[in-house]
C-alpha cells in the first residue's frame, strides 16, 4: 500500500477543527472584504464620475487605504496561513487537492498577481489619475479579486459535493459541482455586505464632511447590503444540493450545526432587513457604534457559515474519497488486516508518561485515527464521552465507530488496536480501571473482531442516506 504516514501534531486542549476554523474565519472575512471592497469602490467611482455623489471620490481614497492596509497585508498572509494550517492539520487532504487542482490554483495565482498590480497602481498613483483610468484600475482590481473567489470556490465546494468527479475524475466535473453556484453567490453577497458595512464605518470617521454628506454616502453604500435578503433562499438552495446526511446534521441531526446554520441565516436576514428599511427606505444615518455592531454581526454570520461548511463534511475532508483522519475508504480493509500502526513510523512524544506497551499502542492508535476530531480530556474529549461506559460498551462502540455516530469514519485497525485504544481511554479516565493483558486475550479479541466485521468497512453515512439510521 502506498500509505505514507505524516507526523501528527496535537493542539490540546483545543481540537484541530478549532485551529483551522479560527484561521479560516479570519481569512474568509478579510478576503471577502477585499473582494466586496473592489465592487464597492467601482460603484463609488461611478457615482463620482457621473456626478451622483460629490463626496464619492474623497471617500474612495480613504477607503482604499483601509482596504490596502487590511486586505493586502492580512488578506494575503492569512491566505498563506490557511495553506500552512491545512498542511498542519491534514497534509494528505491538501496533497490530494494540490494534485487534482494545481492548474486551477495556478490560474487563481495569475489573478492574485493582477490584483496586486492593479491595486498597487491605484494605491500609488490613483490620486493623480483621471476618472476613466481610475475606473479601469478599479475594474481590473475588482474582477481579479472576484475571480480568485471564483476559482477557490470550485475547489472548496468540491470537497463537500464532489459531484461527477467521484466517477469521472476530471477537473471540471469536480470544479462545477452541485454546490458551486449557491456557494459562489452566497460568498459574493457576503463579500458585498462586509465591504458595505466597513464603508459605513469608515464614513463615520471621515473628517471635513458634514452629516448630510456622510448620510448620502452611507445610503449609497447600503445598496450593496440589499442582496443580503436573498440569503434564506440561498440557504435553501445550498441545503437542497448537499448530501442527505450532511443535510440531516443541519436540520436537527447535530444540535450545534443546526444552531450555527440558524445563526448565520438570521444574522444575514437581520442585516439585509436593516439595510432595506433603515438605510435605503428611510435614509437613516448610522453612527460608528451601530456600524461596528452590524459588522460584528456579519463576522458572526461568516464564522457560523464557515463552521457549518467545515462541519457538514464529516466524516470526510473530501467527500467519499478521504476521511478526516487522512485514511481513504479503500485503505480500511487492509488496515484492519495489518493494523494501522504498521504504517506509522513515528514513536510517541510522551511514551515515558505511559506505563506499558499496550497503553502506548492505544495512544498511538488514538493519535492516528481520533486526534483530528477529539482530544483525550479537552474539547470533545474522549474520556468525557466514554467516562460512564463499561469496557464492553467501549469495545463495541469503537469497533463499530461509524454506527456509533455516522459522522465518524469506520475504525481502521485490527482488534488488538481497538482493545489497546479502549484500555488507553479507560486508563486516561481512571488509572485503576486499566485491565492489563486483555490485549492478548483471545476471547476479547474475537468478540471485537465480530463487531468489526459486523460494522463492515463502509462509511456510516450510507446508513443515514438509506434512512436506516439508528437515531
Amino acid at each position: 500500500m502506498e500509505f505514507q504516514a505524516f507526523p501528527v501534531n496535537e493542539f490540546d486542549p483545543a481540537i484541530k477543527g478549532m485551529v483551522i476554523g479560527g484561521v479560516g474565519i479570519v481569512h474568509v472575512f478579510l478576503a471577502q472584504f477585499a473582494i466586496g471592497g473592489g465592487f464597492l469602490m467601482l460603484f463609488f467611482q461611478w457615482l463620482a464620475t457621473t456626478g451622483r455623489n460629490p463626496h464619492a471620490r474623497r471617500f474612495l481614497d480613504g477607503y482604499f487605504k483601509v482596504l490596502v492596509l487590511v486586505s493586502f497585508v492580512l488578506g494575503a498572509l492569512t491566505g498563506v496561513a490557511m495553506w500552512f494550517t491545512t498542511i498542519q492539520i491534514s497534509p494528505r487532504t491538501i496533497g490530494v487537492m494540490v494534485t487534482e487542482y494545481h492548474w486551477i490554483w495556478a490560474t487563481e495565482w495569475t489573478f492574485f498577481c493582477l490584483e496586486v498590480v492593479a491595486g498597487y497602481a491605484f494605491y500609488r498613483y490613483g490620486k493623480r489619475l483621471d476618472d476613466k483610468s481610475r475606473f479601469t484600475l478599479l475594474g481590473l482590481y475588482s474582477i481579479a479579486a472576484w475571480f480568485s473567489l471564483f476559482w477557490i470556490n470550485g475547489i472548496l465546494s468540491w470537497q463537500l459535493t464532489p459531484g461527477g468527479w467521484t466517477t469521472e475524475r476530471t477537473v471540471w466535473s469536480g470544479f462545477f459541482n452541485p454546490s458551486f453556484w449557491p456557494s459562489l453567490i452566497f460568498r459574493t453577497i457576503t463579500a458585498l455586505t462586509i465591504a458595505s458595512l466597513v464603508a459605513c464605518l469608515v464614513i463615520t470617521t471621515m473628517k471635513g464632511v458634514d452629516r448630510a454628506a456622510r448620510r448620502s454616502l452611507q445610503n449609497h453604500a447600503a445598496w450593496l447590503l440589499a442582496p443580503m435578503t436573498l440569503m434564506p433562499l440561498l440557504g435553501i438552495w445550498f441545503l437542497a444540493v448537499i448530501p442527505d446526511d450532511s443535510r440531516s446534521w443541519v436540520l436537527g441531526g447535530s444540535a450545534a450545526m443546526t444552531l450555527f446554520m440558524g445563526l448565520a441565516l438570521s444574522a444575514s436576514l437581520l442585516i439585509g432587513l436593516y439595510a432595506l428599511i433603515g438605510l435605503i427606505r428611510t435614509r437613516l444615518f448610522i453612527n460608528g457604534a451601530t456600524a461596528a455592531l452590524l459588522l460584528a454581526l456579519a463576522f458572526g454570520a461568516t464564522a457560523a457559515g464557515e463552521f457549518v461548511r467545515e462541519g457538514v463534511r464529516k466524516p470526510f475532508t473530501i467527500r467519499e474519497y478521504l476521511y478526516s483522519n487522512s485514511i481513504r475508504p479503500d485503505e480500511i480493509a487492509t488496515l484492519r488486516e495489518d493494523g494501522c500502526l504498521s504504517v506509522d513510523p513515528y514513536p510517541l512524544r510522551n511514551a515515558d508518561a505511559l506505563p506499558d506497551d499496550t497503553l502506548r499502542m492505544g495512544a498511538q492508535v488514538y493519535r492516528m485515527q481520533c486526534s483530528v476530531c477529539h482530544t483525550v480530556a479537552g474539547v470533545n474529549g474522549l474520556t468525557h464521552l466514554t467516562g460512564t461506559w463499561s469496557v464492553e460498551q467501549k469495545r463495541m462502540n469503537i469497533a463499530k465507530l461509524q454506527h456509533t455516530k455516522p459522522f465518524m469514519p469506520p475504525f481502521a485497525g485490527n482488534a488488538a488496536e481497538v482493545e489497546a485504544l479502549v484500555q488507553y481511554l479507560s486508563w486516561a479516565h481512571d488509572a485503576d480501571s486499566y485491565q492489563t493483558d486483555t490485549i492478548n486475550n483471545p476471547v476479547v479479541l474475537s468478540e471485537i473482531q465480530r463487531w468489526l466485521d459486523d460494522a463492515g468497512t463502509e462509511a456510516g453515512i450510507a446508513l443515514v442516506s438509506a434512512g436506516k439510521g439508528e437515531h
Partner: protein, 387 residues
C-alpha cells in the same frame, strides 16, 4: 526498487513541474532579495547616518500625502536616495515577494509532496510563526515608509529597522531549515519525538549566510534600475555616490556569497545518484555558474570605473544577465542536489498522476490575459508618473 540513477530519462510531467518550479522560484528570489537585502541595508545605513534634518520630514501631520513622504526624500537635499527608495518600495516588495512565493510553493507540493509536508509538520509552530512574523514586518514597513518614522527618535528608528530586518532573516532561516530538514530523513523520528523547534545542523548557518549575501548582491542591481528611472528628479552628486555604493555592495556581496557557497551542500552533488539525463548537468552548472560569476563581477566593476554620468546608472545588461545566470546556476545545482538526495525515481509517478489532472489550457489562457491586463495597469501608472 528502482534507483534514481537507473532511470535514464524523466517523464515530461516531471520536466514541466521542475522548470516551472525553478522559474517561479527565481522570480520569488528577485523580490525576496529586494526585501531581505533591502531590510539589511536599511538597518546598516541607519547605523551610519545621523538623524535627518526636520526639513526632510515633509508633510507634517496626518493626511493622504503623508503616505509618500519617503518618496519626497529623493529630492536633491537628501543624502542617500537608496535609503529613500527602499523605504518607499518595501511594502510593495513584500507583497510581491509573498505573492511570487506562492507559485513555487504550489509546484514544490507536487514535486516533493511528502518531504515538504513532513518538514512543515516537524517544525510545526516554528513554521507557522512565519505568518505572524511577516504580518509584523509588513506593518512596520508601512510605518518606515511614513513621515512619522523620520521624526522618531534615532533609537526608535533603529529598533524598528532591526525588527524588520530580523523578521525577514527569521523567515529566510525558516525556509532554509525546512529545506534541509526535508532532506534529512534519518532525523525525522527523533526530531518529532523530542518536539524540537530548531533544526540544528552545521549546514544551516553557512547556507543562510550565503543567501543573505546573495540578496545583497541582487538588491543593488534592482535599486540601480529604480534610480535610473528617477534620474532626472535626483541630484547628480547623490546619484554618483549611490551608484558607487550600490556597485561596491553588489560586488563584495557576490564574492562573499560565492565563497560561502563552498560551505553549503549545494555544489556537492552526487552525480551517480542522479537520473541519467541529469548527470551531465552538474559540470555544466559549474562552468556556466563560474563564467556568469566572473562576468557579473566584471560588469559591476565596469559601471564603477571612470567619472560618473547618469548614463552609468543605466541597468548594466551584462551584470544583470550574468547575475541572473549565476542565480539560475545556483538554483539548478540546489535542485540537482535535492534530486540526488531523495529517491527521485519513486516520485516521478506522482508527477505523472498530477499531470493527468486538467486545467492547464485554462491556466495558459488566463496567464496570457492577465499579463496583458497587468500591462494595462502599468501603462496607466506610467502615464500618471509623467503628469
Amino acid at each position: 526498487m528502482l534507483a534514481s540513477s537507473d532511470i535514464t530519462s524523466l517523464p515530461m510531467a516531471t520536466w514541466v513541474y521542475l522548470v516551472l518550479y525553478i522559474l517561479t522560484l527565481f522570480v520569488h528570489f528577485v523580490f525576496m532579495a529586494y526585501v531581505l537585502g533591502g531590510g539589511v541595508y536599511l538597518l546598516f545605513s541607519m547605523a551610519r547616518t545621523s538623524a535627518p534634518s526636520p526639513s526632510q520630514g515633509e508633510g507634517q501631520g496626518k493626511g493622504p500625502d503623508h503616505e509618500h513622504a519617503a518618496e519626497s526624500l529623493t529630492t536633491p537635499t537628501n543624502a542617500d536616495p537608496i535609503n529613500a527608495l527602499l523605504r518607499d518600495w518595501m511594502p510593495f516588495a513584500i507583497s510581491a515577494a509573498i505573492t511570487a512565493g506562492v507559485a513555487p510553493l504550489l509546484f514544490i507540493q507536487i514535486l516533493y509532496q511528502h518531504r515538504f509536508y513532513t518538514a512543515n509538520l516537524l517544525l510545526s509552530h516554528r513554521w507557522m510563526a512565519i505568518v505572524p512574523v511577516l504580518i509584523a514586518a509588513f506593518y512596520l514597513a508601512y510605518v518606515v515608509k511614513t513621515g512619522r518614522f523620520e521624526r522618531m527618535q534615532r533609537h526608535w528608528r533603529a529598533a524598528i529597522l532591526a525588527i524588520v530586518a530580523g523578521c525577514f532573516l527569521f523567515v529566510a532561516w525558516s525556509w532554509t531549515e525546512n529545506h534541509l530538514l526535508s532532506l534529512d530523513r534519518a532525523r525525522w523520528e527523533s526530531f518529532y519525538v523530542e518536539s524540537r523547534w530548531v533544526y540544528r545542523s552545521f549546514e544551516v548557518l553557512p547556507r543562510l549566510a550565503m543567501w543573505v549575501a546573495l540578496t545583497l548582491a541582487i538588491m543593488p542591481q534592482l535599486v540601480r534600475w529604480q534610480l535610473w528611472a528617477k534620474r532626472e528628479r535626483s541630484a547628480h552628486d547623490a546619484l554618483s555616490q549611490a551608484n558607487r555604493r550600490l556597485n561596491v555592495i553588489s560586488l563584495v556581496a557576490l564574492i562573499i556569497s560565492a565563497a560561502l557557497l563552498a560551505f553549503t551542500n549545494i555544489p556537492y552533488v552526487d552525480a551517480t545518484k542522479l537520473p541519467g539525463v541529469l548527470q551531465d548537468w552538474v559540470p555544466t552548472q559549474y562552468t556556466v555558474g563560474g563564467i556568469a560569476l566572473l562576468l557579473a563581477c566584471l560588469g559591476t566593476v565596469a559601471s564603477m570605473r571612470g567619472s560618473f554620468t547618469t548614463a552609468k546608472l543605466r541597468p548594466n545588461a551584462l551584470s544583470m544577465l550574468a547575475l541572473s545566470a549565476y542565480v539560475f546556476a545556483v538554483l539548478k545545482l540546489r535542485e540537482l542536489h535535492r534530486i540526488a538526495a531523495v529517491d527521485f525515481a519513486a516520485l516521478t509517478p506522482q508527477h505523472e498522476t498530477a499531470a493527468q489532472s486538467g486545467g492547464v489550457i485554462v491556466f495558459l489562457i488566463f496567464t496570457l490575459i492577465n499579463v496583458v491586463l497587468a500591462g494595462v495597469c502599468i501603462r496607466i501608472a506610467r502615464r500618471a508618473l509623467k503628469t
